[in-house]
Each structure stands twice: as structure tokens, then as C-alpha cells.
């Protein structure tokens, strides 16, 4: 990018190229992550937990003898699936970890798929945590103790491939939930055929050409560098958790309900998180609970953390897609059909979110003008790594087949796929061609050199005899507009203006690196700029503590910056009104006759009559001005912006090696609040995406 971003509307702070507000602390290694704040030296008597992991892909524990482990010096407790406090725990799932809003056990998603037991006797994938957990004075002793636990396994037949798992006679993994491994209908996930608009069969009958393709999206893992970690200290009736979970309030709800404790007796502290990427959005959270029971049993703080190997416990939902498109000779699409089979792995987690929810949203915002659309999907249990959330939920999986069939259709119709896309795709209340889609495709085509470089498949020249080059694109509707976040409920923030006009901004969200905190400070400074202050006058605490913070707005859907800043902007208006009120009383004039600018409050008609806000606050208010405000996201439909990716790749036809020669990303991202951070999110997302596409499996 050669031309820096320029805000359309001149602003003081919003849209700036500048360092992050936490840049100095992070660059100097001063910020503390969960593993840093839970050192043994800070918690005298700290014990470490290690959990037994299955060596088999599918097995049941027939019996277990932990007596030798219990006797190992340095071991303080062994809990097994037979201990009453463990056996009494309810089955759970990922349904309450998508912390869009804090939900209870009863309200959680995927109530039909509560397939996880806390330390059960049933191992559903190799390394599944089952049977027993140890608390010892060091991780090494805990590991040693695990080896002393004698387990009599009943090894069960296993299945790894979802197509095999769907066949009659395949090993059944969760018979109590599904007799054939296919996830049943669910209130959120819906039926197998989850989109059935118009009449797809009729639409295909009307088509002049039909193309059909398949794509396979593999498991990729979030691979946050900051391994999952928690410390639980359960003393008397009070339980405190320090962790790098990305949701504090939801974690508190989870722990309080699973352990049957009143909410105010559970305190969750979330410090900085070393990369989220969907990692925390998994059902693999029983470790909070068994660590808690170990703390209760031993009377000591207990720490559990994943090793790097254990961190590979969760992945992007893989999917096999079939896509079919029918169109008239002029490129008008008459019908679309998609069928996906997702390998859910050992636990359902958010499989249906990826396979059904994401394509449903895309249907609404990109396929709205296609008269006939059918989509069906099957999430299938296997004995593999569970699949869940990773950047973009199910979008990558769907966009892979989507881009593929659009290309195939264009090829068959001898059309430019850009023209085909513009002719057909757009959101339901927009016209075609969609303005945002037109602009991202036009701009991307220009920058990649589409008209010069594009050629029909196989028609391009060879480089170094064996290398071929090609350009292509995919596009995506950014479906997390504000109105799509309405289900979060109220977003709550608090602004405290001290008497010297410095500000404490309570806009809690667990700091995972996305840059939303910097956006919020810039937005707050902009909204309060009438006080004559800047970002350096605002303090935003990065640590979320359920005992002192408002409810945290969870880092999902890339939505936190705009959700919180909308409320901040409104709260700032209230701050202004309060100051005007005080000034009116002090100056003995009507508040309506006053104005504030650049830190000074004055009579609008006679600007010389007035005083500095700081002076006013010192004279009239001994307390800071505090405005707390909650507001649900605006449900008004505001439009859907598009993103387009263009790539030029070179393929060595003798080895299959692929090299990306050029990548162009055009994201219609609306008002940019923090330009440097927005660039980082784009670049970083592409780095992860290219890695996922080219190297990871």
C-alpha cells in the first residue's frame, strides 16, 4: 500500500496511524499474561494439575487404580471419574462458550449436543482427557503420577472419516445423542436442509448450463502462542480463577453453574491473552472444573496449563463441500445447491455454527437475488480432533467452494467471473450491481493486473518450462454488521471524568491483541475532545475482573470496537450535558445557552464569559463525573460491506509447489478507527490464511 488511508471526514484522533495504546508495555515485555501472573513464587503452596489422556482413539475405562499415584511423594490429590464431586457434574458442550452474550446452562446453544463429560470414562479421540487428574508440587511429579495410574481400557473400534462414519455399521461415538453419528436437528443448527428458498429443482431445470464441483477444507489449528492456562484458588466458599480465557463474565457463569456456586462467590480475572483466533470458543473447558475441585480438595491454589502438544485440542471445522450452480446463457443464475459434510471430530462443539449458521448469513447477504437456493449439511461425529471456531467461523470453508463454482460457471459461459459475480450477488435490500462488491472487485482487479494477467485455464505461457501462473479472486460479505450483533443484548460502558479532566474508561473486553482497546481510546478521546483532552489523558484498564469490571464484551465477530465505541460516543454526550448543568448553576445562566469546546465552557453568545472545565470541576464538584450507559446494538439494517482477495500464484507443474506471487486484499471496512491496527488485522489475517491454505494440515 503506497497511499496512506485518509479519513473521509477530518477527525482529531479517529482513523490515525499511530502506535497501539499498549505498544510500549508489550514491546518491553512488561505486560503480564496468565502464565506470568500465576507463578509459584506469587502463590505459595501452588500445585500443578495434569490430566490423564487417552492413548486410544476410542476406548472406555473398565477400571482404574490410582493408589500408586496417590503415594508418590509430592502428589497431593488424585481425582477420578468415580469421585462423587466429579461424577455429579452435568454433561456440557461448547454451547456457552460463544460468548456473544452471557448465557446460562439452560439458555446455551447446542442443548442437544451436550456430549462432553468432565473426566468421564469414555475417550473419544486419542489424547482425550479422561478418568483422572493429579495435583502435585511440580508438573514433572504430576506427569510421573499419571504414569503410575493403572487403567484397564476397553478398546473400542474407531472411525476417522466422516463418510465412513455415516455408513450403517460404523462405530457409534455418542449413541445417547446420535445413533448414526450424524448430529441431530437443533434449535440453532436447524434441519439437515437448512436453506430451501424457491424451488432448486425447478431452477436447475430452467438453466442452460450447470456446473458442479467439490472442495475439501482441512482442519487447521488456531495455534495461539499463549497456551491455555488457569489457576483456581477455592478457599472456604469463595472461588477465584485467573485465566487467559477470552470471556470473563461467561467463564464465571460456566463455573458458577457447573459447580453450583452463587455468582458472587466466583471471581474470574482475565489478563492479556496471547492470541485468541477462536481458540477459546471450544467445549474443551472442563479443566476449569477439575482444577477447581483439586483446589477444594487440597486447600491450595492449583494451576493447569496446556503443553504445546496439548494445545492442539481444537481446530477449524473441516468440511467437504459439493456445490452446484445453474445459469442462463447470459449468466443469470437460476439455482444454487450446496451440500456439506463436516468432520465434527469427537465432540460437536460449534460444528453447526460453521456448517449452517455462516452459510445461512451468506445466503441472506450475498445470494439474496438468486431465486432458488438449497443448502444441506451434515455434521458427523468421528474419533478425530474436535472441530470448532477459527477466524471466520465457517466462511473460509464456504467461500472455497463458492469461489470455485463461480469460476467453473464463468469458464463454461466464457464470461469474466467478475461480471458474473456483479450480475448475480448482493444483499437482500440492495440493488445489483452491489456498490460495495463492485468497488472491491474493480479495485482488486486493477491492482492485481486482472485484465493483463487473466487467461483461460491452461492457456497461459510456461515459465522456466514447468511453471504456470494464474490469477483468481474470491469475495465475501462481511456479515457482522451492527444489526447482526443484536443478539448480544446490552453493551455497557462507564466513563469517569476526574476533576482534572483525565478519564477512566471502563469498556471491558479481554485484551487479545485485536486493537479494539486502542479504537475505544481514540473514539473516547474524539467524543470527549470538547474537554480539550487526547488519548494520553484516558486510562483503559486491560485486565478484566468480574468483581470490579462491568460485563466484558467478548472478542468474537470482530465487533467489539464498533459495539463499545457506539456506546462511548453516546455516554460522552451525557458527560457534556452534566458539565453544562454544573456550569449553568455556577454561571447562573441556562444550560441551553452554554457550549463547551477545547476544555472551556462558555456562553455561546458571549464566548468571553466562561471558564475552563477543569476550573469548573474543581470549584463545583468534589466528585468525578461518572456516566454509565448500556445500549443494545442498533438493529437497523445498514448494509453489508464486501471484502475481495485477489491472488497471483505460480505452480510448478513438475512438483506441485505453489508460490503466491502477489496478494491483493480489498476490504470495504467502513470508518477506520485506528489505521495502523486495521492494517495489522488485514496483514495478519492474510498471513494466517496463506499459511492455512498452503502449509497446514
Amino acid at each position: 500500500m503506497k497511499t496512506p488511508y485518509k479519513p473521509r471526514v477530518p477527525r482529531k484522533f479517529i482513523g490515525a496511524y499511530r502506535p497501539r495504546i499498549d505498544a510500549w508495555e508489550k514491546a518491553g515485555g512488561k505486560v503480564e499474561f496468565a502464565d506470568d501472573i500465576t507463578l509459584q513464587s506469587r502463590f505459595p503452596g501452588l500445585l500443578y494439575a495434569k490430566v490423564l489422556r487417552s492413548p486410544h482413539a476410542h476406548a472406555r475405562i473398565k477400571s482404574l487404580d490410582a493408589s500408586k499415584a496417590e503415594k508418590l511423594p509430592g502428589v497431593h490429590a488424585v481425582l477420578t471419574y468415580k469421585d462423587p464431586e466429579i461424577a455429579a457434574l452435568k454433561p456440557t458442550s461448547a454451547g456457552w462458550t460463544d460468548g456473544v452474550d452471557t448465557v446460562s446452562y439452560e439458555q446455551m446453544m447446542w442443548r442437544h449436543f451436550r456430549d462432553r463429560r468432565v473426566l468421564g470414562d469414555h475417550a473419544c479421540w486419542a489424547t482425550d482427557e479422561v478418568g483422572a487428574v493429579v495435583a502435585a508440587e511440580s508438573e514433572a511429579i504430576a506427569e510421573e503420577a499419571l504414569k503410575l495410574i493403572a487403567v484397564d481400557w476397553e478398546v473400542l473400534p474407531f472411525v476417522l472419516d466422516p463418510l465412513e462414519a455415516m455408513k450403517p455399521g460404523a462405530p457409534v461415538i455418542h449413541p445417547e445423542i446420535s445413533p448414526n453419528n450424524i448430529l441431530p436437528k437443533d434449535a440453532v443448527g436447524g434441519a439437515d436442509v437448512f436453506v430451501d428458498k424457491g424451488d432448486a429443482d425447478k431452477g436447475f431445470a430452467q438453466a442452460d448450463v450447470i456446473v458442479e464441483g467439490t472442495s475439501i477444507h482441512h482442519n487447521a489449528t488456531q495455534a495461539s502462542l499463549d497456551n491455555w492456562c488457569c489457576l483456581v484458588d477455592w478457599k472456604q466458599d469463595k472461588l477465584t480463577v485467573l485465566s487467559n480465557s477470552y470471556e470473563a463474565d461467561q467463564s464465571r457463569m460456566h463455573i458458577s453453574q457447573m459447580l453450583d456456586l452463587p455468582i458472587h462467590k466466583v471471581r474470574v480475572i482475565s489478563s492479556y491473552v496471547g492470541g485468541q483466533f477462536g481458540r477459546g470458543d471450544t467445549g474443551d473447558q472442563p479443566f476449569f472444573l477439575f482444577t477447581a475441585w483439586l483446589s477444594k480438595r487440597t486447600g491450595r491454589p492449583v494451576k493447569f496449563r496446556h503443553s504445546r502438544r496439548e494445545s492442539f485440542h481444537d481446530s477449524r471445522q473441516p468440511a467437504i463441500y459439493l456445490g452446484k450452480v445453474g445459469a442462463k446463457k447470459d449468466g443469470t443464475i437460476t439455482a444454487m445447491y450446496f451440500k456439506s459434510i463436516g468432520n465434527s471430530g469427537a465432540y460437536a462443539d460449534h460444528t453447526m455454527f460453521a456448517l449452517k449458521f455462516a452459510p445461512t448469513e451468506i445466503t441472506e447477504v450475498a445470494l439474496a437475488h438468486i431465486p432458488n437456493v438449497r443448502m444441506e449439511s451434515y455434521g458427523v461425529y468421528t474419533n478425530k480432533l474436535p472441530a470448532c471456531m477459527m477466524r471466520g467461523v465457517g466462511n473460509s470453508q464456504f467461500n472455497l467452494i463458492f469461489g470455485h463454482v463461480v469460476d467453473m460457471l464463468a469458464e463454461k459461459l466464457k464470461m469474466d467471473p467478475i461480471d458474473l459475480a456483479l450480475k448475480n450477488f448482493g444483499h437482500e435490500w440492495g440493488s445489483r450491481p452491489d456498490q460495495s462488491l463492485s468497488e472491491v472487485l474493480r479495485s482488486g482487479a486493477e491492482r492485481i493486473g486482472w485484465s493483463q494477467k487473466r487467461h483461460a485455464p491452461g492457456a497461459g505461457p510456461a515459465y522456466d518450462r514447468v511453471k504456470k501462473r494464474g490469477v483468481g479472486f474470491s469475495f465475501h460479505p462481511a456479515w457482522h454488521a451492527e444489526w447482526q450483533e443484536a443478539r448480544r443484548g446490552e453493551i455497557r460502558i462507564r466513563i469517569t471524568v476526574n476533576t482534572d479532566c483525565t478519564v477512566l474508561l471502563d469498556a471491558p473486553t479481554v485484551e487479545t491483541g485485536t486493537g479494539s482497546n486502542t479504537c475505544n481510546v481514540l473514539g473516547c478521546a474524539e467524543a470527549l475532545s470538547f474537554l480539550g483532552i487526547g488519548p494520553e489523558d484516558i486510562l483503559l484498564p486491560h485486565k478484566v475482573d468480574t468483581e470490579t469490571s462491568l460485563k466484558d464484551c467478548v472478542q468474537t465477530d470482530s465487533a467489539v470496537a464498533y459495539l463499545q465505541s457506539e456506546v462511548i460516543a453516546r455516554a460522552a454526550l451525557e458527560v457534556k450535558a452534566r458539565i453544562l448543568e454544573k456550569a449553568a448553576a455556577h454561571l447562573k445562566v441556562d444550560a441551553g445557552d452554554l457550549d463547551i469546546a477545547e476544555g472551556r465552557v462558555f456562553v455561546a453568545a458571549a464566548p468571553d464569559t466562561g471558564l475552563a472545565v477543569k476550573e469548573l470541576l474543581r470549584l463545583c464538584v468534589s466528585l468525578p463525573i461518572v456516566v454509565e450507559l448500556g445500549r443494545p446494538p442498533n438493529a437497523e439494517k445498514t448494509g453489508v460491506p464486501y471484502i475481495a482477495n485477489f491472488a497471483e500464484v505460480e505452480v510448478d507443474t513438475s512438483t506441485g509447489a505453489v508460490q503466491v506471487l502477489k496478494l491483493v486484499v480489498i476490504n470495504d471496512c467502513g470508518t477506520v478507527m485506528f489505521a495502523s491496527g486495521a492494517e495489522s488485522q488485514q496483514i495478519g489475517g492474510q498471513v494466517m490464511g496463506v499459511g492455512e491454505a498452503l502449509t497446514e494440515e
Binding site: 487479545t512 491483541g513 498471513v687
Partner: protein, 166 residues
């Protein structure tokens, strides 16, 4: 038997068996025993670079060194750098348009800063390919590689003597 290690300018003496064990890694000693939490242990097998420290001025992976191997050597962690160290400043301030920031979550950053420290000690004016090669042992999962390279190039230019390679 006592092991002597100079850490961030201070001499330490450790009794083997009491303070450190023969199998203890340097990263464990520094983090868990001494509280130098700037370095991170993310992979614990030499793959990610988050635990990078300087040993006698060279960047080393502290998870791949035994604590006893540091006997007689001088270790510097990020806590041992000056607060306004040119590399820390460059990583903190990178916001040149087109490259993004040099950090987001910040977990890998101290490792990158120390690896860059080692690189610039050997090659004070590296080219972009040399920066990429020099930092290829470090992973940034947030993907800030463009900003990181820019920060290192800037720090090297700022500390260049007059007439140095631009």
C-alpha cells in the same frame, strides 16, 4: 556444586540440587525461579523463538539450553535492556503506513526484540532479506511480520553511524 551466571548485570550463584536441577532449562530458571516473565515459553522445543534471550550477546533459545550450561556466561533478558532501547522503541512505535504495527497480542514480541538484538549485534545494517533470515526462528501468530521487519530496519538505521549503509 555452585553454578555462577550473570543475569542482567547481576551475578547469581545457584546450588545444584537445591536451586537448580541438572535437567532444568534456562527458560524455567529465568521465568519460574527468578520471575523474568518477559521471555515466554510457548513451544518448549525450540520452534517458536518466544523464549529468546542473549547469551554473551548472541541470541539463544532459553528453552533449548540447560540452566547449568549458562555457567560462567552472561545472560540478558528483555528486562535487562534499557527502557528506551532503540529496538524496544522501534517495535513500540512502528506505525509507518502500509506495514501495520510490529505487534498485536504482544506475546511473541520480547522474543522478537531479543532475536533482533542478536541480529543487529552481528550485522548492524541488515538488508530486508537478512532481517527475514535472521528472525526466521520466531513465530508471530498475529502475523505482524511486515511491521516487525520495518521496526528492525528502522532501529538499524537510527543507530547507524554517519555514512552507514542506508
Amino acid at each position: 556444586m555452585a553454578i555462577r551466571i550473570k543475569i542482567n548485570g547481576r551475578e547469581h550463584e545457584f546450588e545444584v540440587g537445591r536451586d537448580i536441577t541438572p535437567t532444568m532449562t534456562l527458560s524455567y530458571l529465568l521465568r519460574e525461579k527468578l520471575g523474568y516473565t518477559g521471555l515466554k515459553v510457548a513451544c518448549d522445543e525450540g520452534a517458536c523463538g518466544a523464549c529468546t534471550v542473549l547469551m554473551d550477546g548472541k541470541a539463544v533459545l532459553s528453552c533449548m539450553q540447560l540452566a547449568v550450561q549458562a555457567q560462567g556466561h552472561e545472560i540478558v533478558t528483555i528486562e535487562g535492556l534499557a527502557k528506551d532501547d532503540p529496538l524496544i522503541r522501534a517495535f513500540a512505535q512502528q506505525c509507518e503506513a502500509g506495514y501495520g504495527t510490529a505487534l498485536q497480542c504482544g506475546f511473541c514480541t520480547p522474543g522478537f526484540v531479543m532475536a533482533a538484538k542478536g541480529l543487529l549485534a552481528e550485522n548492524p545494517q541488515p538488508s530486508l532479506p537478512e532481517v527475514k533470515e535472521g528472525l526466521s526462528g520466531n513465530i508471530c501468530r498475529c502475523g505482524c511480520y511486515a511491521g516487525i521487519a520495518q521496526a528492525v530496519l528502522r532501529a538499524s538505521k537510527e543507530s547507524a553511524p554517519e555514512g552507514g549503509r542506508p
